[in-house]
Symmetry: C2
Subunit: 331 residues, 2 copies
């Protein structure tokens, strides 16, 4: 290991393809024109929202294999996870394919975790082509984590809107695309927030911890990146992160942004913005990868965050432990 | 990649320590004398069974670090997962430590998945010391997957008893212990079983698929291993596996056994035997590792299986997709 928590990838696996699929509300948001597929309605022709989420993930896997100009038989392994209990959306989606499956869980940081493990499998020469995927669905997350949809409960001002969408990327040593050069693996951080309607505040300390460790280990500063982008801290959470970093003497400037904060338009009334595993997965695998391929961003630091709670842990009065993994991607 | 689905580890990470902690019923079972710690009662001094499960996992992590003669600061990363929604037992346990955390989920195959990813991280030179851990608790699993404990529902003859216990191992290139030499990653297999009280029947086809692929890829036969051990197929599931393999012309002989089938004594009335992520995790990290260190087993094939369902998928009428990963361990 070169640095504590941070690894350098010698061969630097490339993102040879990426794919996104989202719901109609997401399609009307700020990244609408970058997504590969926008569903007409969020049930996606299925009888339950859970089955719709599964179908989105399945389509994101099929889609990325095509976009990477590969065939299913070229894929060595799938790494995926989601927010549903027992990550069933991913496991059931994986059933449709003839390649092996590893289930990963990092809540809304799952895109980073799947890319981290996938990068290592490719960089180490164990596999040639790996697919990483995650997603979330507003209606399944809402009824699993919070309240029945029929209740129509009022959303507090700190709440965020779970993205209905799935994103995927294919990693390989062969082909063209942005390269994954470094990964900083995050610790579980819990500063005592217990408000399940304020995920941004819960997750900001985890982003702070991983970001500080990353800058220290790699001897870089915010100015070394064209873009520093967190996953789904939202409006409040990203403000908190900026404050926390300032307290440590690190000034996050105009090159810092948050996928959740940018996702929706103001008139879409999502309060603190977007969240969910599908949030950064769909922004990264559409807009960000495209801007890297265009040469607009040459080096980015991608920091998806995840809140590792469950409805049961909340009911038993626990606070919310969070995690954040950082990935450096270069063009 | 040397073979489809199967990877060879060049440096062969060693299991430099392993630790197990179990409940009182498990302590009275066939492996009682091999476990490191037997709890006096399965609430482990906590107010809820969920918190007891978390404490077991935390103790298994502390325990293995000590047994590997390491300090917490020597650990580079923790790979863990469990059966509770959002793998909260592992995530909350990870909060107590200053090393990074990757959450993995493969239901009762989680021990194999954590060892597989951990082995790659060590073998590839990314990290020096990795801890892999999983566990389960009868009372948390029963009330999450099936019925409230207070209901006292009758268990059908095919049911298995979720092990209350956690097992962990530390992997490193430095130190003594059994070596991990090959891994065959499993596909998600679903032959249409939808009876949540017959996990053995649901999982046997996944064990068959991975085992057949493993023998083919590595050009080995059952006779090349001192021990072939599945995770928690139980009495019925392991019989089904023997039949399925015989249909393919592969005869599993006296060197084949199943952790779930062997776990409890007949008078403990667990019907088809043990199950749960803690089942093979506690047998492997106690009895099996000890017998390898003693020289009784020189080469084993370890095949934990997992049923990737959730209560929601069951309620929505889905069948049970399963997975099995195979790990070759040599002394």
């Amino acid at each position: 290991m070169e640095f504590e928590q941070t690894i350098k990838l010698k061969k630097q696996p490339r993102i040879i393809g990426s794919y996104t699929i989202v719901g109609p509300k997401e399609g009307q948001g700020n990244f609408g024109k970058y997504f590969d597929y926008i569903m007409k309605d969020d049930s996606f022709g299925e009888k339950t929202y859970e089955k719709a989420e599964r179908k989105m993930i399945e389509n994101a896997i099929v889609g990325v294999i095509e976009k990477a100009k590969l065939l299913p038989k070229d894929i060595d392994i799938l790494l995926a996870g989601d927010l549903l209990n027992q990550i069933v959306s991913s496991s059931y989606a994986a059933r449709a394919f003839q390649f092996p499956f590893l289930g990963v869980y990092g809540a809304c940081s799952t895109m980073a975790e799947s890319m981290a493990v996938g990068s290592v499998l490719v960089d180490g020469g164990y596999f040639d082509n790996v697919v990483c995927c995650t997603g979330s669905h507003f209606s399944t997350a809402e009824r699993q984590y919070r309240f029945p949809l029929e209740l129509g409960n009022q959303r507090p001002p700190t709440s965020q809107w779970t993205v209905t969408g799935a994103g995927s990327c294919a990693l390989s040593l062969h082909g063209e695309g942005p390269k994954i050069s470094m990964i900083t693996f995050g610790k579980v951080i819990d500063w005592g927030v217990n408000d399940v309607n304020n995920m941004g505040a819960a997750m900001a300390p985890a982003a702070r911890d991983t970001m500080l460790r990353h800058f220290k280990n790699t001897k870089t500063t915010p100015g070394d990146y064209d873009l520093i982008v967190t996953g789904d801290l939202g409006k409040l959470g990203s403000e908190i992160l900026i404050d926390l970093m300032e307290d440590e003497g690190v000034m996050l400037g105009v090159n810092y942004c948050d996928c959740g904060q940018m996702y929706f338009k103001r008139e879409q009334k999502t309060l603190c913005g977007a969240s969910g595993a599908g949030c950064c997965a769909t922004v990264f695998n559409s807009y960000i990868v495209e801007k890297m391929r265009d040469g607009q961003y040459k080096k980015i630091l991608f920091l998806p965050t995840g809140a590792l709670l469950s409805a049961t842990s909340t009911q038993q009065g626990d606070t919310i432990p969070c995690v954040c993994h950082a990935i450096v991607i270069e063009m």
